[in-house]
């Protein structure tokens, strides 16, 4: 019955836009990160955005009002109160929205897909995105990176956001980044603040590199996994 691959009705990788997920808890700055990327790459990359809101289209409205991208390039997918489902186990409506944007604004270079801000466990399926950010912020507490989770441990890039707020919330950014690096086994961590040009340059560099990597056909989507690896009393370690 399965006489053709399930991805047969998607454009071949490398010819379509890079699909980049932005996940992370509510309030950590996912929409602001997207606005920053749109502003940084304006005139350089053709970009479109999909938001997945728990309540309708709040994030889409924020992004449209930010004025960093033509409003018609920002679309909201409703998730029926299941933001996990919409980006992970049933990505149908998101894929249709991505394909619509690719069709309507052909050729697109980058589609950013924002998850509904939910909690530490929601990550994107590799069937929906080619790579993903996981966003934390210093105001959420310096210990969050240490708590781990699939996004923190294995997203393609972990952002520790709003570092400019660290002095006001009593968080040691360097320690938070070291904790995150320890949890990530060598995967990149970026301490980011919109008001810190060096961190914004590092974001630019990573994203440009990822776009090149995707276009060369050598970017293979990775699943951060449904749960963090954990140990059992008998010493076995696994990630389900």
């Amino acid at each position: 019955m399965l006489d053709r691959p399930v991805e047969a009705n998607q454009p071949a990788r490398g010819r379509r836009a890079l699909r980049l997920g932005v996940a992370g808890p509510v309030g950590t700055g996912k929409s602001s990160l997207i606005a920053l990327i749109c502003a940084e790459f304006a005139g350089e990359l053709s970009i479109a955005v999909i938001t997945n809101d728990i309540y309708t289209d709040e994030d889409a409205r924020f992004l449209r009002s930010a004025g960093v991208l033509a409003p018609e390039r920002i679309r909201a997918v409703e998730t029926g109160a299941c933001p996990h489902t919409a980006i992970r186990d049933d990505v149908s409506q998101n894929l249709l929205a991505v394909e619509d944007l690719e069709h309507d604004f052909d050729p697109l270079d980058l589609v950013l897909v924002e998850s509904g801000g939910d909690n530490l466990t929601a990550t994107f399926s590799p069937a929906l995105v080619d790579a993903q950010f996981f966003v934390l912020d210093v105001a959420g507490g310096g210990d969050v990176a240490r708590k781990g989770g699939p996004g923190i441990a294995r997203a393609d890039m972990l952002i520790v956001n709003k570092t400019d707020l660290a002095p006001y919330v009593g968080v040691d950014v360097d320690q938070m980044v070291r904790d995150a690096e320890a949890a990530r086994d060598g995967r990149p961590v970026l301490a980011l603040s919109r008001s810190d040009p060096r961190s914004v340059a590092a974001l630019r560099h990573w994203l440009s590199h990822t776009v090149d990597h995707f276009r060369s056909g050598s970017l293979h989507p990775q699943d951060p996994g449904p749960m963090a690896p954990h140990t059992h009393g008998d010493g076995t370690v696994h990630s389900h």
Binding site: M1, L2, D3, R4, V6, A8, N9, I54, Y55, T56, V77, E78, T79, G80, A81, C82, T85, A86, D89, D90, V91, S92, Q93, L95, L96
Partner: protein, 233 residues
């Protein structure tokens, strides 16, 4: 003898019944989790939770019967047409459904589900619908033809989907004992059977009933512009 070598009628019926279960699973990846089958609009308009069974009955006698008949007719038209004539044939069924569905909000949510379903049917059965956006009922009818389901099977599947979508969304919006939801679903069986019997012999677009459901349509229209809703429709 390998299992796949068995081809008696009884085996085909068994296979169809298994396929029907797969398609009836609420976790079928078609994006249906974004829809409430009209129950969120009903709650917003003030319908109390205890009237959910009546909403289910009202839908089964109106919009859902129209959808189920559309699926049955699509299946018949698909199987009765030459391969090259199929896209035009099912498009005429799609038009018949649209003419009987005055709410553009209802048509739009059905189109979104139809696209999700078409993606599934293309991947699993190689179903080629010509790349057009078709309503969910038409896509389900064509899928039934490709998957070997009979007319009553697909009518019952459309009905079951609707009943379960209402109850699952109601549970999320106004939580109650989920066991009551199972009782409501089973209590709808008699109404579903009546509806399936009414429309299982439909074979041309003219056979699709045009029931009016003004209140459901008005609620659907209001919902399309509601703020802070959980479900698209």
């Amino acid at each position: 003898m390998r299992c796949s070598d068995r081809t008696s009628d009884a085996d085909r019926a068994d296979r169809a019944s298994y396929v029907q279960l797969v398609l009836a699973d609420g976790r079928l990846p078609t994006g249906a989790h974004t829809q409430s089958a009209g129950v969120e609009p009903a709650f917003r308009a003030g319908m109390p939770l205890r009237q959910v069974p009546e909403l289910i009955t009202a839908r089964l006698r109106t919009v859902t019967e129209t959808e189920a008949a559309t699926a049955v007719v699509t299946r018949a038209v698909w199987l009765g047409s030459n391969v090259p004539a199929r896209p035009a044939a099912i498009e005429s069924v799609d038009r018949a459904w649209r003419a009987r569905t005055p709410s553009d909000a209802m048509r739009s949510s059905s189109d979104a589900l139809g696209r999700g379903y078409a993606r599934l049917a293309a991947a699993v059965w190689g179903l080629d619908l010509g790349g057009r956006v078709l309503c969910r009922a038409v896509v389900m009818g064509a899928t039934a033809a490709a998957a070997g389901l009979g007319p009553a099977d697909i009518a019952r599947l459309v009905a079951f989907d609707d009943v379960q979508m209402v109850i699952a969304a109601a549970l999320k919006l106004e939580p109650f004992d989920p066991l009551l939801g199972v009782q409501w679903s089973l209590a709808a069986a008699a109404e579903v059977d009546c509806m399936v019997r009414r429309i299982s012999n439909a074979c041309t677009p003219a056979d699709i009933p045009a029931h009016s459901a003004p209140l459901l349509e008005q609620w659907a229209q209001q919902h399309a512009t509601e703020e802070r809703r959980l479900y698209r429709a």
